[in-house]
């Protein structure tokens, strides 16, 4: 294993220390337990937004703490969900008196730890609603599994719900909007290589040099199927078609198209995927009204990408366009 780390056991702490220094104007990192808040804490009268999950997906979630997105984020160990002792103080820190929305990716560990933390924080007087993101269409049989996983679509939920909260909307309204994003966003990913968890030291799965893993989650876990290496246009179609089919996109609709890198793929390749995915949507008569291309929801240094489509309406489009100022996303 060759990585820019000191002691691999301290990978998360060392990274957060640098993150805190680099973005001291935006975030404050708390230790023992670990969680990240906006500088200045909760905004009085604004619904607070909190998310969290295993580390290794940066800039998700800590990079999205700031104006117009999250009020707090809770990073766990690499690929391991955080525990309630970090989540509970984050929920309280985000509470400006108007309630808190917890945004949780649908992974069993994340869901259980957030459930427990919400129960504890509510017993301590907080008002909280939870939205579980499950945008991954690779999981076909969701009645016989733990359900579709929460992947890159989480960014869309955090951005749009964050904008709604900034407008001063109430907890019920912010929750409703977050749920509408979840209902209208789908993703599918591909791994070109595996990734290596620092404290494990070897790749999380074996992927032969001439094969791709289609339908991965964001922890290097296996996906839907393995296919021989193919040109990017073909791979883009393998990702876009199931997304568009599952959303049942019809002619005349408009979407946000988000091509996300898994950490080790250059943006030049992401734009190759984007170009093909966009043409495929246009062939379906769907308008790509908004776009995002970059590595935002990653699996350490994994090479690969995911394609996300979000069905837009006037309200969601306006909320997407609203100003955002975080370490990783700003306009």
């Amino acid at each position: 294993m060759k990585k820019l780390l000191n002691d691999p056991e301290n990978a998360v702490a060392d990274s957060l220390a640098g993150f805190a220094l680099a973005h001291a104007d935006l975030v404050q990192v708390h230790h023992d337990p670990t969680y990240v808040t906006r500088v200045g804490g909760a905004t009085t009268g604004k619904v607070g937004l909190v998310s969290g999950g295993g580390s290794g997906h940066e800039p998700l979630h800590c990079g999205f703490v700031g104006d117009g997105m999250l009020d707090a984020a809770v990073p766990g160990a690499v690929f391991t969900s955080p525990t309630p002792d970090g989540i509970v103080p984050a929920l309280h820190a985000a509470d400006g008196g108007a309630g808190v929305l917890a945004i949780v990716k649908n992974y069993t560990g994340d869901v259980l730890n957030f459930d427990l933390a919400v129960e504890i924080a509510e017993a301590e007087g907080a008002r909280i609603s939870t939205v579980v993101v499950n945008d991954d269409v690779a999981v076909e049989n969701s009645t016989h599994t733990a359900g579709r996983r929460g992947v890159a679509g989480t960014l869309c939920v955090e951005k749009i719900a964050g904008a709604a909260a900034m407008q001063g909307r109430g907890l019920e309204d912010v929750t409703r909007i977050a749920r509408r994003v979840v209902e209208n966003v789908r993703s599918m990913g591909v791994a070109v290589t595996a990734c290596t968890v620092p404290h494990v030291g070897k790749p999380s799965f074996d992927l032969p040099p001439d094969e791709l893993e289609i339908g991965i989650g964001i922890h290097g876990e296996p996906g839907r199927r393995r296919v021989p290496v193919a040109p990017a246009d073909e791979v883009a179609q393998m990702l876009l078609d199931p997304v568009a089919d599952d959303l049942e996109l019809s002619r005349g609709e408009r979407v946000l198209l988000f091509v996300n890198g898994m950490g080790g793929t250059p943006s030049s390749e992401l734009y190759v995927v984007y170009g093909r995915a966009r043409r495929l949507l246009e062939q379906r008569g769907v308008t790509v009204a908004r776009s995002l291309v970059g590595s935002y929801v990653t699996s350490l240094e994994m090479q690969g990408a995911s394609v996300t489509a979000l069905r837009l309406d006037d309200e969601l489009e306006a909320l997407w366009d609203a100003p955002v100022h975080t370490a990783a996303l700003r306009w």
Partner: protein, 220 residues
């Protein structure tokens, strides 16, 4: 034989030893069908519990300390596991111990309470994890354990109930091997999850075996 707070403490300490001894086995089971951190997570959690028990023991030995309750030990175990383990097993075992603590708030517990303790633990796990028997999870070890404890309690004492529970959990864990997982991380493997033992069911069997071993150490 009395099942008191000392027994509960021996149980938890034996469990900590067991997960350290079997860490590699649990990790390997989890690597096959999960994400390979079950052994490491439980070792981290139970080591933290033992450290807290050590600290509390020093306090309890001070003159004038009130007698300890079984539920106190289990509650300390619950809250520590919840805050240190992470993943799915932290909240599941944490909730199990929290529910178990609620029915064991006595200096000593009898056979009926042992059964109630195991039932409450299982109820907590199913309430939190929403799994049912046959889905290849720790519920497949806990469910036969509770059934066996109930049957044994009809004729025997608390030791019989615990022994029956431990034996049934062990058999229940082995019986997860051919199952196809429909809950938890392993469920994403579908048919590929068959042929592997569920790591959470195996750690449950270790936990209940430790409860039996703790009986025999009364005078240790």
């Amino acid at each position: 034989m009395t099942l008191d707070a000392d027994w509960a403490e021996r149980w938890i300490r034996r469990t900590a030893d067991a997960v350290v001894d079997r860490r590699d086995e649990l990790t390997e089971l989890d690597r096959e069908i999960g994400d390979g951190d079950h052994g490491e997570n439980l070792v981290r959690g139970f080591r933290a519990v033992v450290a807290k028990l050590d600290a509390r023991r020093a306090e309890a030995e001070e003159p004038g300390a009130s007698p300890r309750l079984v539920g106190d030990v289990l509650k300390l175990t619950a809250t520590t596991l919840m805050s240190t383990v992470g993943g799915a097993s932290g909240p599941l075992y944490g909730t199990a111990f929290l529910r178990a603590a609620k029915v064991t708030g006595h200096p000593e517990i009898d056979t009926r309470t042992i059964v109630a303790m195991l039932e409450s633990a299982l109820d907590g796990i199913t309430a939190r994890g929403k799994a049912e028997p046959g889905e290849k999870t720790m519920v497949d070890a806990w469910t036969p354990a509770v059934d066996a404890a109930e049957r044994a309690a009809g004729e025997g004492d608390e030791a019989d109930a615990l022994r029956a529970a431990a034996a049934a959990a062990d058999a229940g864990s082995t019986a997860t091997i051919p199952l196809v997982a429909t809950k938890g991380r392993a469920s994403y493997l579908g048919e590929r999850s068959a042929g592997h033992e569920d790591p959470g069911a195996r750690s449950t069997a270790l936990l209940l075996a430790a409860a039996v071993e703790a009986l025999g150490e009364e005078n240790a």
